[in-house]
Symmetry: C2
Subunit: 362 residues, 2 copies
C-alpha cells in the first residue's frame, strides 16, 4: 500500500466529482474582474488555485510572482500571461505601476508571507494570503499594519469559512437547533511522507502539523462556538523524531470558551484520513466527516438527516467573496485580524505543550 | 422535544433489535451455573442485568440484596427467588452459609462498592462489581485485598472489553492493519436531566460524567493503545452549576502513551448522543459510532469496510466470561487491578483539571 500524497488526501474519495463555483457573490452585473497575481507557484497554486481562478466571476489570473524562470515560461503559455506581468520575489514591488494587477494571492511558505504581503501592500495591491498567516504574532501584526497603511484589504485563505457545509454547522450552532453546543471535537491530520517538503523545515514553516492543518480544527472550534478560547492545554508527541526533527508531528489540545463550551482537538502529520468536526449539543450532535477535504465533504446529524450541499470550488468562492468585499469596500470575514488570532492561539498551544501548563487567555 | 432518559440513550436507535448472548465461553458441557446474588436493584439491575441473567449459560440469578422490602417481594415473585436468598445491606455477610450463592454482582452507587464487595468477599463469595470500581484508589485497593484474602475472584463490569466490535478495534490496532495507531479519539456523554439521581451526589458517586461514562472513553484509549498513559492534561467546565453543583459536568482530557500515541477524550452530562471511538493509524482509521450503547454499535473503517458483528447481550457475555474464569481458575481480564488503574488515572485527570498542570504518571 503506497502512502498517499498530500494532494491525494485533500482530493479524497470524491476527487472525480464535478466541482463548480457557486459563489453567488456577484452583485449587479458588469464589474470588471480584479486582476490577481499568484505569488508562489507550488502545487497548491498549480493544482487548486490557478484552476479555481478560471472559474471565478470577480477575479482573473493576470500575473505571477516566481523565482523560477522555467515555471514562469510554463505558466505564461498556459494562462496567457504577458511578460510584463511576470515578477520575481525581488522585483515584485514594481507591480505598483501595473494596472493589470489589483490583488496578490500569497501562496509561498509560511515564513515568507509577511515579506510578500508587505511588498504587495507597498505596491498598492490588496493581499489574499494562505494560512497559516505567518509564523509569529509580530509578523501578522506587521502584515496588518502594512495593508492598513496602504489602504488595501488583507484576507486570509480560510476556505472553509465560505463552504456551505461549514456554514450549515455554524447555523445549527447559532440557531440552537439541537440546543446549546457543549462540546466540539475537531481534528485534521494526514501522513506526511515526503521528507523534503518545506513544511518540515522550521525556518520556512514555523511549525508542523498544528500550523499546517491543525489550524483548520482550531478555526472550526472557533467559528462553531462563535467564541475565543479563555484557557487551553496541550500535549505533543513525536513518534518519528527523524522525519519531524524540526516541527511538531502530533498535538492534541483542548480549549475552554467563555460560555463553558469545550473543544477537544488534534492534529498529526502521521495518520492518514483524519479530518472531522462533531459538535455535541444538549439534544444531539451534528458533524462533517470528512470535513476539510477540497471535495467530498459529508455531513450528518444525530436525527438521521444528512447535511448535504452542492460541491463548490472552495478557492473560487473565497476569492470571489474577497473580491466582492474589495469592490463594495465591505469588511471581509477572514481578515488579517482573524489570521493573527489563530497564530496567537497556536503559540499558546505550543507553550502549553512545552510547559505542561494550561494557558489562560483573555 | 423531550429529554431522553439515561435508558433511552443507552438503548439507542437499535433498541428494538434482537439481542442474544453469544458468549461462546462454555467449555465442556455440564458445568452447574454459578449462583449470582444481585446487590442493588436499581434500573441497571432491573432493565439490563436481571434480563441478561436469564440468558447466561454459566450464571443464574439466585439471590438479591436490597434495602427495599417492596422490591424484594417483586423480585422474588418475578425471578422465583426463595426468601432464604434475600438479604439487605446489613445482613448480606450471612450469605456465607448459603450455597445457592457463588458470586455477588455489586450494582450499588459507586461509593458503596467497597463496603459491599468486602462484605461479599468475607462471606466467601466471588465479586463482580460495576464500574467505576470505587471513588478512590485506596478503596479499590481494599477491595482487591479483601478478595485476595478470601481467595475469591474480583471482576469489574467493563462490558465493552468482551464486545466483538471493541475486540475488533483492538485486533486492528494490534495487527497494525492500517499501520501503527497514532491518535485515538474517544468520547462518551449524555444529557443528565433528572436532578434527583444519586449520580449527581458527590458522597455517593465520587464524581460526575468522568467517573460514570468518561471511564468508557478512558478504557477505550487504554485497550486500543494497549498502554498506560504517562502524561495527561485536562480541562473541566460547568455550564449548569446548579444541576452539577457536586460533580463534574464536562471534562476534556488528553493522554500521552509511552509509544508516543496520543488520546484525546471527552465526557459530559450535558450533551446527548455522544459516544464514539476513532483510532487514527498511519494509513487510515477505524471507528465505532455509536460505540458504547448497549445495542446498535456500528463500526466503519477508512477503506469503506464495515465493522459489523451480531449483537450480543454485553452483560450476559461479561458475566459468563467471569464465571468461566472462576470455574477454570484463570485470570479475568477486567480485574480489580484494572479497575483500580482507571480510578487512579481519573484522579489524575481531576488533578490536572483542578491545577491546570499536565500530570506525569509512571
Amino acid at each position: 500500500m503506497t502512502q498517499p500524497s498530500r494532494r491525494d488526501f485533500m482530493v479524497g474519495a470524491a476527487g472525480a466529482a464535478s466541482v463548480f463555483a457557486t459563489s453567488g457573490v456577484l452583485g449587479a452585473a458588469g464589474s470588471k474582474p480584479l486582476g490577481v497575481a499568484l505569488c508562489g507557484l507550488g502545487s497548491l497554486s498549480t493544482d487548486q488555485i490557478a484552476p479555481a481562478l478560471q472559474k471565478t466571476e470577480l477575479c482573473k489570473l493576470t500575473g505571477i510572482v516566481t523565482g523560477s524562470p522555467e515555471k514562469a515560461k510554463k505558466w505564461q503559455a498556459k494562462y496567457n500571461i504577458p511578460a510584463k506581468n511576470v515578477y520575481d520575489y525581488q522585483s515584485m514591488e514594481r507591480m505598483a505601476d501595473n494596472p493589470d494587477i489589483d490583488m496578490v494571492y500569497v501562496v509561498t511558505p509560511n515564513a515568507l508571507h509577511a515579506d510578500h504581503t508587505i511588498k504587495s501592500a507597498r505596491a498598492g495591491k490588496h493581499v489574499f494570503c494562505e494560512k497559516p498567516m505567518e509564523i509569529s504574532v509580530e509578523r501578522c501584526q506587521q502584515m496588518i499594519d502594512a495593508c492598513k497603511s496602504a489602504g488595501k484589504k488583507l484576507g486570509i485563505a480560510y476556505r472553509c469559512q465560505f463552504e456551505p457545509h461549514h456554514l450549515e454547522l455554524i447555523r445549527l450552532a447559532r440557531e440552537r437547533e439541537f440546543g446549546d453546543v457543549k462540546v466540539i471535537e475537531a481534528s485534521f491530520g494526514f501522513t506526511s511522507s515526503d521528507p523534503k517538503v518545506w513544511r518540515l523545515r522550521r525556518a520556512l514553516a514555523g511549525g508542523g502539523a498544528l500550523m499546517d492543518v491543525g489550524v483548520y480544527a482550531l478555526q472550526a472550534a472557533r467559528y462553531i462556538s462563535g467564541e475565543e478560547p479563555i484557557a487551553l492545554s496541550a500535549i505533543e508527541v513525536k513518534t518519528d523524531p527523524v522525519m519531524f526533527r524540526e516541527v511538531d508531528e502530533s498535538i492534541a489540545w483542548q480549549m475552554r470558551f467563555p460560555s463553558g463550551r469545550l473543544a477537544t482537538c488534534s492534529t498529526t502529520y502521521n495518520a492518514n484520513g483524519m479530518g472531522r468536526i462533531r459538535a455535541h449539543a444538549q439534544r444531539g450532535w451534528f458533524e462533517l466527516d470528512p470535513a476539510f477535504n477540497y471535495t467530498g465533504i459529508r455531513g450528518r446529524r444525530s436525527d438521521g438527516k444528512a447535511i448535504s450541499f452542492p460541491a463548490t470550488d472552495h478557492f473560487a468562492v473565497e476569492l470571489d467573496t474577497f473580491a466582492r468585499s474589495i469592490l463594495d469596500d465591505q469588511p471581509f470575514r477572514a481578515s488579517g485580524e482573524e489570521g493573527l488570532r489563530d497564530v496567537s492561539i497556536m503559540m499558546s498551544i505550543y507553550e502549553a505543550a512545552r510547559t505542561g501548563r494550561a494557558i489562560k487567555r483573555s
